[in-house]
Symmetry: C2
Subunit: 260 residues, 2 copies
């Protein structure tokens, strides 16, 4: 009863009802069997957050040939953890795919992204993992033109594998036709003017998150932001090892003189 | 009216009432002026999560000479973002310090930690940043013996600075006397058996997060986990650049053959 089709676990951070994840499942089911475990509610900006103060639950949803769907009360990271522990008793997934996110996860956004949180968790658990995002927050964004790229990138990862402790952060620019694929590094940049203050009638101030992205190296042509700005699909290979190795060497000469 | 004392912004993820942050403020105020912006409620496991679906608010709390305290409805990352935008109009902080966390943030825990989330956000905003954690979840954990180490490490960072895009993840073992300080790398490891299932009378299953940490390289002596296991204070220099550079090179030969 060996199944020759790959098995892919899919999650996202926009919730299981989002158009992006349902389009992604439609693309992937042409080349693989798919199990979905996605957040019940939208969980954008979850990063690698986990839920420790309340218990999680999950529910089985629609099933069709080759696709089984669940949704989970937790974050994207919780979804991956719970799916890997509960749903794959016989056969482990060959790949974990997250997205398609409604919005850009390039540059520093990788830190805040729940879409990347799911991919990083897959990676932490030893699985190859890919996060796909489109630079369009629209709930009805058009994803169909991404299909051949998503199929090609997924097939390459299934064929080559990924080194342990790495995953791919793949972002698509908001253009009608992609110029091709660039393998990039994470752009140095940051968000500016991140809050919009509103005052209630009672005088209380409230702060809504907003902001403008600033690219700190607009001249560099090897960054994910440059690729997106120039119409390319940006693949940023991503590591879960956060060690700053050069600083580790430099700090060997620091003097930690402890005065008890 | 120049103020010669450094100015330090302090946050955490256990909430502004936690013993750990209040002990930390007590230590730091001996060498610096301190502004606290910490979560109103405990937000353990927040990672780099941000709040986008509801607005934030913050409240001024206790004030004493050299220490001003605020608490914020958001995550640790939100706290740092909002503090930097709202509280430092005249003079920017010299350093951002997060903690003292009640619990271990070494190895892969750095990804899930809200304590590290605050330090990473400081780092993303261009400030030197340190996260301090003690391997003791007890609400009444004893922190006093950490004081000379926290003072020494903080002074060294104020003196040397940190390269842009890097911060320090500092973890203290649960021992009465520390053997010294080790500058380490992030241990490769993972959490196992992460859920405890409970069944309600109505048949619903609920899943509480739990788990056992597994060190995948127990023989390595340059890791943060080894340092902690052997009684040393573990300093893990940490980068916000997630790029997997070796994989970026290796992937240049991949074939992204797009079949339209």
């Amino acid at each position: 009863m060996e199944n020759k089709r790959p098995l892919i676990l899919v999650s996202n951070d926009d919730g299981y009802r989002a158009k992006g994840i349902n389009e992604l499942v439609g693309f992937l089911k042409t080349i693989a069997d798919v199990v979905v475990m996605a957040p019940t509610m939208p969980r954008s900006g979850s990063g690698c957050a986990i839920t420790t103060s309340v218990p999680l639950k999950y529910t089985k949803d629609l099933q069709e040939p080759g696709v089984t769907r669940y949704n989970c009360s937790g974050t994207p990271t919780d979804c991956i953890k719970l799916a890997l522990e509960e749903l794959f008793t016989d056969r482990k997934p060959d790949l974990i795919v997250s997205g398609i996110n409604h919005g850009d996860n390039s540059s520093v956004n990788a830190h805040y992204s729940g879409t990347m949180g799911a991919a990083i968790e897959g990676c932490l658990k030893g699985y190859p993992a890919i996060a796909f995002s489109l630079c369009d927050h629209n709930l009805n964004a058009e994803f169909m033109h991404m299909k051949p790229y998503i199929i090609a990138i997924t097939k390459q990862v299934l064929e080559h594998g990924l080194p342990k402790g790495t995953c791919l952060n793949v972002n698509f620019p908001l253009v009608n036709e992609f110029k091709g694929v660039k393998v990039c590094r994470q752009t140095k940049g940051d968000w500016q003017q991140e809050f919009e203050m509103q005052t209630r009638k009672n005088g209380d101030n409230y702060f809504w998150m907003t902001g403008e992205y600033r690219n700190d190296e607009p001249e560099s042509t090897d960054t994910d932001h440059w690729a997106l700005d120039n119409g390319y699909v940006a693949i940023t290979p991503t590591t879960i090892d956060l060690t700053a190795y050069q600083l580790k060497e430099d700090m060997q000469s620091w003097n930690f003189d402890i005065q008890q």
